[in-house]
Amino acid sequence: MSVQEVLPLNGLVSEQSGPFRADHLLVAEMVKPGSKVLDVGCGEGDLLQLLETRGIDGRGIELSREGVNRCVAKGLAVVQGDADTDLVNYPDDAFDYVILSQTLQATRQPKVVLENLLRIGRRAIVSFPNFGFWRMRLQLLIGGHMPRTENLPASWYDTANIHFCTIKDFVELCDEIHVKMERAEALDLYGRPLRLRLPWWVWNLFGEQGVFLLSRGQGK
């Protein structure tokens, strides 16, 4: 699932300086130079290109044929595949990091996907839109309809996003499957990190998306 399909962030790019998206820069910052990375749902390969400039050996999986072909035409090592069905083909510990950027909510089995990420990679970086964001809540509470935002403009009947969650929900899932959160960030509507150390409930209300660096926890 390409980022463009799930989350048209084009409007946001113009507000950023430089060619790279703020959330991509944050993800890239979490990856140690020289490591081996799998980007699941790599879209048109923007993040992979950013990682490549930092000397990172990046591979990608992308669902849409157009996205894959554009990536391959950029010289990136990307294969056509589905996060739900194709991650099982990768061996344990194949990568230092597996990245799932704005794709978790479009998978059929987010929990299984998350478990696979941390089987294939020693670490996982997961970002997703936060359905606890105050504007989402307000639309449902006051407007009485399913939330739609600039970043999530699709109607309920044609959205590819079938498993929305809040930052709080995601943290609970991580606890349930014994995943260790090494770093957590909430980003505002423009993809900029909320820099203040705030309690979870504030992030859950004001974070438009969450970005988590995860590793295998105890008991796994």
Binding site: D57, R59, R65, V68, N69, C71, V72, A73, K74, G75, L76, A77, V78, V79, Q80, G81, D86, N89, Y90, P91, A94
Partner: protein
């Protein structure tokens, strides 16, 4: 192309074809008794020769060599006028100035496979032991045998590591065999419209073709050369059947529909009333001008036997364990001979081996033949893959 009324006799004499068998219009590498080709069937083939063409120049550190592996009915004349048919090279869409495989940048090698009939030793060659054409006395060859012979040629040319091995269909099978047998000698591999094994359906089609050849009374149990004849009709039927599998329903419909050939009404006969019939007859008749019937039997057999996983304990991923080669796998949506599912199985095995792999499926209605045709998206991907591998390899050229 579609103006032919029935299967005509070949315009080119059998002499042209048989001359190319032993004295090809290309370079030839001879391998004497000291260098036999050890075949999978247990026979040491010796002496033998490999006919090949090269384009471009080998650079000083011998790092820019690209091996092109041809498909079932291809040959070494990848980017030059064919000496028998007078037609352009079979892959001039991909190979040539300004093309993804530009001779200004790469040293490009293409050899006729062992068992072929355009100058490499095969069933149409003279058996030095008898002074007669080999015919069915020629040992059965396999895809690994073809690759073993190519590796001997590459050794002869003084090349240790190939920058790329590239091929489609049977050529793609050779690409995969190269990476499985000589992983350290292949820097990058472009495998197009192929599979790691031949499917039951494909074996069935090949058997149909072989039976058509063998049913021709002129075949004479493979000894037709002794009679000075060639089983044109059987081979033409084999080619016609095979050609259908290279296309697609949609492509045939677009190209021909139910249109009539040079007539308004049916003739109520078995003439080629329909354009599609006329086209197929032309494909059959032009093929027999340049191809040897026994060679067709041997090469289809080689494809049938191909199964990389079987050679690695039934586990495909084991064939590629720890491989450093950069792969690009390409399939076409309408290819029902080597469907995308086959490429996907390969990609899964490569992923399981943590290989660096790109995989693109290209949308086209042109069927298996798409890899030989003008498909811009395929060229863009091939070019980018080779450029990115070239960058990693430190290849530069005067064009950079």
């Amino acid at each position: 192309m579609v103006g032919v009324k029935s299967v005509p006799s070949p315009a080119i004499s059998a002499d042209d074809r048989s001359h190319e068998v032993d004295h090809p219009s290309s370079e030839v590498a001879h391998f004497g008794a000291d260098q036999p080709l050890r075949l999978d069937c247990g026979v040491d083939l010796t002496p033998f020769q490999i006919a090949y063409k090269t384009y471009g120049e080998l650079n000083a550190d011998r790092s820019n060599a690209v091996l092109i592996c041809h498909a079932l009915t291809g040959d070494q004349h990848v980017a030059n006028v064919h000496p028998v048919t007078g037609k352009p090279g079979w892959w001039e869409t991909l190979v040539g100035p300004g093309r993804p495989l530009d001779p200004a940048r790469y040293f490009i090698i293409c050899s006729n496979v062992i068992g072929g009939c355009m100058g490499s030793t095969g069933p149409a060659s003279i058996n030095p032991a008898t002074g007669k054409v080999w015919g069915l006395d020629f040992p059965v060859i396999t895809i690994p045998d073809m690759v073993r012979a190519q590796a001997m040629l590459i050794d002869r040319l003084g090349i240790d590591t190939l920058f790329a091995v590239v091929g489609g269909s049977m050529g793609g099978m050779q690409v995969l065999q190269w990476t499985a047998a000589y992983p350290a000698r292949v820097y990058s591999a472009l495998a197009i419209a192929c599979a790691t094994r031949h499917s039951a359906q494909n074996i069935a089609f090949h058997e149909l073709g072989r039976q058509a050849v063998m049913a021709d009374p002129d075949w004479h149990n493979g000894a037709y050369a002794d009679q000075g004849i060639h089983p044109h009709r059987g081979l033409a039927v084999a080619r016609m059947a095979a050609h259908i599998t290279y296309l697609s329903d949609a492509a045939l419909h677009r190209k021909f529909g139910r249109r009539m050939q040079d007539r308004e009404l049916p003739t109520f006969s078995f003439d080629a009333d329909f354009q599609v019939e006329s086209y197929l007859r032309y494909q059959g008749s032009s093929f027999v001008e340049r191809f040897d019937a026994n060679s067709y039997l041997y090469l289809t057999r080689a494809m049938d036997y191909f199964d990389i996983a079987a050679d690695h304990g039934g586990v495909l991923a084991k064939a590629f364990a720890g491989i450093q080669t950069r792969f690009c796998v390409v399939s076409f949506t309408s290819d029902w001979l080597f469907p995308t599912s086959e490429s996907r199985a390969l990609v899964h095995a490569l992923n399981a081996s943590s290989a660096r792999v790109s995989f693109a499926e290209i949308e086209t209605d042109r069927g298996h033949d798409a890899f030989l045709l003008d498909v811009p998206e395929f060229f863009d991907i091939s070019r980018a893959f080779l450029q990115s591998a070239g960058k990693a390899r430190g290849l530069t050229s005067k064009n950079d």
